[in-house]
Symmetry: C2
Subunit: 344 residues, 2 copies
């Protein structure tokens, strides 16, 4: 696969349009060397017509300064920020920051702000890592519009964005692992709870779930919840599911904040987890591990994912790359008390 977007106008494009050499473009735009005033004017016009922006990364390499990348979250504050902050984003951040520094890149951490504002315009960054962007993610759109290199952690939330370089998180495989395990534990009626945002991981999860439904003939029980509701959204999802389908005996809840809220609510109704209700989530983070009971989840190998993403971004900063999609390591099931019905 080749990348056509984000396509960055280069100094060669400007040179071609102005009918001069790239060196002349560089001299003309940077005020160095001897350039005829008329030629300089032609170069400046060509650069303006093409909306050419000099490559900050290359400039910084020349001046010895560190290039700056941002790690941005596409999740709202209620999931990625707030009280339980040590989640997916920070696990990626800790490894990506180290991996970036080892390559001479400084990583600015851009967590979601409670105000919902994006600080992107104020940051003078050379590129960005973006965690699981939704189809309409404004930060991704802004990066693409500016021609700044961006790497998506997880495939972007729309096939239209498939040429954005990314680390594929194997979301279908992840959900197949979780559903397969629930079926092994004799789950009869499995509800799937997703966020409302248009994220690739939800789409792949939904497809995998529907394949399971059609293969096993089990009932199709799906619910979408606004991610901004956090744990409370999970409680409400569980309440709604149990009122419409009181005989559900398993819930696969992709967002860990939802899963924790749902586990609380389910147990408050007198149901036991896992005896009466299996509950599993995707990300094996502090929420899954400290939930009561601890939640079955998936080891997504985020340390390696963060390194893959950083190295992909580093390559892009250094020039065009042909390999625009890397596959994450295979997800591994982490079975915990919340789904161990047979052992119970």
């Amino acid at each position: 696969m080749t990348s056509t977007r984000p396509y960055r106008i280069t100094i060669s494009d400007v040179a071609r349009r102005a009918g001069v050499s790239p060196t002349t473009v560089s001299h003309a735009l940077n005020g160095r060397g001897q350039v005829d005033p008329q030629t300089r004017q032609r170069v400046i016009e060509a650069a303006q017509e093409l909306d050419y922006r000099p490559n900050r990364h290359a400039q910084r390499l020349r001046t010895g300064g560190a290039s700056m990348i941002a790690l941005m979250s596409s999740m709202p504050y209620a999931v990625a920020g707030g009280a339980s902050r040590l989640g997916f984003l920070m696990e990626v951040a800790s490894v990506a920051a180290t991996s970036a520094l080892e390559r001479g890149l400084a990583m600015v951490l851009v967590p979601p702000l409670a105000s919902g504002a994006s600080p992107l315009d104020m940051l003078d960054i050379d590129g960005a890592l973006l965690v699981e962007p939704s189809a309409d993610d404004p930060q991704l759109a802004s990066m693409i519009a500016k021609g700044l290199p961006v790497v998506s952690i997880g495939r972007p939330g729309s096939p239209d964005l498939d040429d954005v370089p990314c680390v594929d998180l194997r979301s279908a495989e992840t959900v197949e692992l979780l559903l397969g395990h629930m079926l092994e534990q004799d789950a009869q009626k499995i509800a799937l709870v997703l966020g409302t945002a248009q994220r690739n991981s939800y789409m792949e999860a939904e497809d995998a779930y529907l394949r399971m439904i059609s293969r096993t003939g089990r009932p199709d029980i799906r619910l979408r919840v606004d991610e901004a509701c956090g744990e409370h959204g999970g409680r409400e999802a569980a309440e709604q599911l149990l009122s419409t389908h009181p005989d559900i005996d398993a819930m696969l809840i992709l967002v860990d904040a939802f899963a924790v809220g749902a586990a609380q609510y389910v147990q408050e109704t007198g149901r036991r987890v896992p005896e009466d209700m299996l509950i599993a989530t995707r990300y094996d983070g502090i929420r899954a591990r400290t939930c009561e009971p601890a939640l079955t989840a998936v080891n997504m190998h985020l340390d390696e994912v963060a390194q893959q993403a950083t190295s992909l971004l580093f390559e892009r900063l250094s020039g065009p790359v042909t390999n625009t999609r890397l596959l994450s390591p295979r997800p591994e099931l982490v079975i915990r008390a919340s789904t161990l019905r047979k052992a119970a």
Copy 2:
């Protein structure tokens, strides 16, 4: 308390030495306005003699760019990086990054590198937050030498550095809480395990421990372990303590990585936690919560600490401040299974 260090040479100092106004210094150094060539030369010499560096933060404010701060760890990779990365540093990072962005500062995350190298020289930062610097911390020394504003999270590891602005983490009070709780649980022989680095939290802990010893007449059993040994260091500490003092019935282990290793070793010898051995640590992070059994620890309110530190650094970037030390919120004991002997 007033701060005398890090003292930053200001434009006023240069003006005084050159015998001109600050505005003239600014014009002379920035090539603006009308400045007599001899005056300009005098200003340049004065600036060189004083090793004056223009305030990047102020410059960035003028040009509309975001000032850049770093969050640096003083802990080695084995404790703050590596496998269990979601610790103290990242908990501070998640809040500090948000708090910084809300003030127009970009926060670069500078985790410890496995190589031990410091990337400080390559980063064009305006100031830094430094977590629990030891007495000989090279990053702190470098920041001070450059006259860059720095705020220490926790008091610096030497009284010589007491004029470095900091958020005091109330380490004595923290250890008093933990020791008091262990005594209430009938601990007879309490060992104290510290890191070998010269950190303020260890010094305050040791003082509090010695006060307890002299007050209660209990035996003095202390051990220091190199932080770079991580969990393995904790295992070895427990082994050494049990071979020299087989009748120890409580271990207060400040570094959470040590505590987890020690808990494993203690239980492998056939001792039960908490029935035969109480174990507690300081930082209530993912390691304490997911240890088997979960470890009693202290809520240090790191979210508020991170905000205090960021706001202190922000003030310093904006000019001299009189208040150079803030007190963290009161630590709160979080009692978990690892010390609940009486309930067992």
